[in-house]
């Protein structure tokens, strides 16, 4: 009897807690095209994924802030990140950034994720590229992009 009551109370709490925490902390993934067409609500933390546009990486004078373009081969968004970038961050690489969109349409990243494997492409990024790959006149490598 005691056993069942404790168990049920525990399970109830777990479900309530998980639901509450989920609602607060789920992060959606979006592509640059979705951001440009305005499908993304402002002032909300989300993940943006794509390829770092070749030749777009600009370092600010403070030596820490980096601006770069992120593209899904259709649209591209400027991403701004202040801090040390991960080891594997480079042009043409598929990455995921986490942050918010500011009023000028610049994605201010709080975190930039790049996996520790040169052949690794984040799965969401790979999926989003499929749509526009064929519309590209020429191969992805010609534009300096890694291929998934």
């Amino acid at each position: 009897m005691i056993f069942t009551v404790i168990l049920l109370v525990g399970l109830g709490c777990a479900v309530a807690l998980a639901l509450y925490a989920m609602r607060q902390n789920i992060m959606l993934f979006h592509t640059p095209s979705e951001v440009v067409t305005g499908e993304v609500p402002g002032n909300r933390l989300f993940r943006l994924g794509g390829l770092v546009v070749a030749g777009s990486v600009i370092k600010a004078d403070d030596g820490l802030t980096t601006d770069f373009g992120l593209t899904d081969l259709n649209q591209s968004i400027t991403v701004r990140y202040t801090g040390l970038l991960p080891d594997l961050f480079r042009e043409g690489q598929g990455i995921v950034a986490q942050g918010v969109l500011n009023e000028e349409g610049v994605f201010v990243a709080q975190e930039v994720l790049a996996k520790h494997d040169e052949n690794y492409m984040p799965p969401e990024v790979a999926a989003s590229l499929k749509e526009y790959r064929d519309s590209l006149p020429g191969s992805m490598a010609e534009y300096g992009y890694e291929t998934p």
């Binding site: 005691i2 056993f3 404790i6 168990l7 109370v9 525990g10 399970l11 709490c13 777990a14 807690l17 998980a18 925490a21 989920m22 607060q24 902390n25 789920i26 992060m27 959606l28 993934f29 993940r47 370092k59 403070d62 030596g63 820490l64 202040t82 801090g83 040390l84 970038l85 080891d87 594997l88 986490q98 520790h116 494997d117 040169e118 799965p123 969401e124 999926a127």
Partner: protein, 666 residues
């Protein structure tokens, strides 16, 4: 030739695993003694052939046999020897081989230490372990053969992933697997007991040291993994709630619950159903963990699509093992009688609350880990469940758990007079609260309600463990020397107290490092100084260093406090020659009360580099606490109670045998 021998040895091991499963299980059902007797030699033979196979793969790594695909993908002539040996478990195929090797070792250990158990029980246990082995051997041979050849063979290998070239990661997977596989013993016992319909407390007593040993291995494995991430990733974090980490943490949580509920079943013959269910769950989660991590499903569900055979096999095997055992449980559980009754204020209830909290924590982590996979399998917009979710959920559940950790030891079995216990607990609570109020101010000069709460709970757990130990020392053999009395205390009590002390140390570490850590990212010119939390970092320059299979830029950073030199830190940026990946090696000065930590970023111009500086108070307490838990486990597993029983029963068994012979002769 050698790889082929390894491959054949693996096939022979599979045949023996079939024998080890079918013959003894049938024997136990039909009470055929000869059939049951097959279990032990089959298990030992299986281990022999797995060991041969494993040795062959290791040999191929050592002699750089790149005609073996797995070796070519994960090794290189320039790789140092110890990393060649550890590269065997550096990727999917070889780690499966390590898994079955571990399973073989645990199985043979069961054959050695089971002399005191009924014959049919041993036969069933070994049969079930054989079944698990079949599952893994088939998976290895059918979908992930480590001995596959490649033609033409490359001249040079692609090298071991640079991230894995670290001493911490050399020991981490084997310890983790020891733990995962160790739970198979408890699982096999639970299934054997369900099959035989006999579930007495001997079962629980016998399983306890095994479960604790497995739990200790898993604890050490996870701790090493966390310590490695802190050193190697350069982000200064010690836990990321990464799906791969969660996969190892869930069996640990359920294993912890199992360790505690086994105590109830052993001592009080109570909660039997629950304990059996936990044994099944702990192993199921271990299986899930192994498969999910190594098959790449956690990175993406689409990994299934790249190798559908593997994915399908995993799903079927999981369904058979987990589903099968749960069905068996559902059929047999109603017939299991738990005899011991208990009241609300009793140790049983405290342990039950502990169990429920641990299980609830496991569930919330499981949901957080699998939900994104589930969503992406349904082709809904992809999402991720990040650190904030896990931090919130887990700390909300840890607070009451640590509270119970402090109370539990003072509760008596069956029923406890409240006023007697409450007086002690008030004392401990007062100590905890006082420390919680004072310590953060001493460490950082400030505090918040949450920090006070965390510090108070950590101190409460430590105070409770110390108080409990000292009470036991006082009550043991009055008038004798203190050292004598300390020695007289059973290892089980030492084990529990040290482990609970570890919980407190861990909680203090987590509280302080998350509340008071300082980080600063900045570009630093050679000769420039930067200040952080009273420490002065001076950047002296960067030099080139040549490693065996990498070259590196090594910065030299001197750290001063109050003008006195404290440490010389040498953070590095390594580039491995084959895979060309840059890798960060942090420069860390570890201390009992704080770490100072420097990670080297990119070069900005000739004289300037990006730097990340950390001040991390009490961070070592996190791993210290975890290691204390492991030490507690070792002490508890070595309690005389288990050994004496074993000896006595072995003697009884010998006697029994002798008498039988006498009757047979007369």
């Amino acid at each position: 030739m050698i790889p082929e021998i390894g491959h054949f040895a693996l096939i022979i091991a599979l045949c023996l695993a079939f024998v080890q499963t079918l013959v003894p299980l049938l024997g136990a059902q039909t009470h055929t003694v000869q059939w049951m007797a097959v279990a032990k030699p089959a298990a030992r033979g299986q281990l022999l052939f797995i060991a041969i196979s494993y040795a062959c793969l290791t040999y191929s790594f050592i002699i750089d046999d790149f005609s073996v695909l797995y070796v070519a993908n994960n090794s290189n002539t320039a790789l140092p020897l110890h990393y060649k040996v550890s590269a065997v478990w550096g990727a999917h195929e070889g780690s499966l081989l390590l898994w079955v090797l571990m399973l073989g070792i645990w199985t043979v250990a069961v054959t050695v230490f089971s002399a005191s158990l009924p014959r049919d029980m041993v036969a069933r246990v070994l049969g079930v372990m054989g079944f698990v082995s079949i599952g893994f051997l088939l998976f290895t041979l059918l979908t992930s053969n480590p001995f596959e050849r490649i033609f033409p063979s490359p001249v040079e290998g692609r090298d071991l992933n640079p991230l894995l070239q670290d001493p911490g990661l050399v020991i981490h997977p084997p310890m983790l697997y020891m733990g995962y596989v160790g739970f198979s013993v408890a699982f096999a016992f639970a299934i054997a007991a369900l099959l035989g319909g006999k579930l007495d407390s001997i079962w629980a007593r016998w399983s306890r040291p095994w479960v604790i040993s497995a739990w200790v291995s898993l604890t050490i494995g996870i701790t090493l993994g966390s310590w490695w991430a802190y050193h190697e990733l350069g982000w200064g974090g010690w836990w990321f709630w990464d799906p791969v980490e969660n996969a190892s943490f869930m069996p640990w949580l359920v294993g912890t619950a199992l360790v505690h509920s086994l105590a109830v079943t052993d001592k009080r013959s109570s909660l039997k159903n629950w304990t059996v269910l936990l044994a099944i769950l702990a192993f199921s989660l271990s299986l899930l963990g192994t498969f999910l991590v190594r098959s790449g499903v956690l990175v993406s569900v689409h990994a299934f699509a790249t190798d559908p055979a593997r994915g399908l096999y995993i799903l079927i095997f999981l369904a058979v093992v987990v589903g099968g055992s749960l069905i068996l449980y559902a059929i047999r559980a109603p017939y299991i009688k738990s005899s011991g009754q208990f009241e609300i204020f009793s140790r049983e209830t405290a342990l039950l609350i502990n169990n429920v909290l641990l299980l609830v924590a496991t569930l919330t982590i499981l949901v957080g880990t699998l939900y994104p996979l589930f969503v992406s399998a349904l082709n809904l917009p992809s999402l991720s469940v990040g650190k904030p979710y896990f931090d919130l959920v887990f700390s909300a559940l840890t607070l009451p758990l640590v509270l119970v950790v402090g109370i539990g030891p003072f509760m008596r079995w069956k029923s406890t007079p409240i006023n007697q216990v409450s007086k002690r607990l008030f004392k401990i609570a007062a100590i905890g609260l006082a420390i919680g109020l004072v310590l953060p101010v001493m460490v950082a000069g400030r505090s918040t309600i949450l920090v006070t709460l965390g510090a108070a709970l950590g101190a409460w757990s430590i105070a409770s463990a110390v108080y409990y130990l000292s009470k036991n020392i006082r009550l043991t053999e009055h008038g004798t020397h203190i050292l004598h009395r300390i020695r007289k205390i059973p290892h089980a009590i030492w084990g529990m107290s040290v482990a609970h002390l570890g919980v407190g140390v861990f909680v203090l570490g987590v509280t302080f490092v998350s509340a008071f850590e300082q980080v600063r990212e900045l570009p630093m010119q050679v000769g420039q100084e930067a200040e952080l939390s009273g420490y002065l970092f001076r950047f002296d320059g960067v030099r080139d260093v040549q490693g065996p299979n990498y070259f590196s830029k090594q910065a030299s950073v001197r750290v001063f406090k109050n003008g006195e030199p404290v440490a010389l830190l040498l953070p590095e940026k390594r580039t491995y020659l084959v895979q060309q990946n840059p890798m960060t090696e942090a420069g860390i000065d570890s201390g009992f009360l704080r770490d100072v930590y420097v990670a080297l970023g990119e070069q900005i111009d000739d004289w300037t580099w990006g730097m990340r500086l950390y001040y991390k108070p009490f961070v070592q307490w996190i791993w210290l606490g975890a290691m204390l838990m492991a030490v507690g486990g070792v002490l508890a597993a070595s309690d005389r109670r288990y050994r004496l029983k074993l000896k006595r029963r072995r003697k009884a068994a010998a006697q029994d045998f002798h008498e039988q012979q006498v009757t047979a002769v007369s």
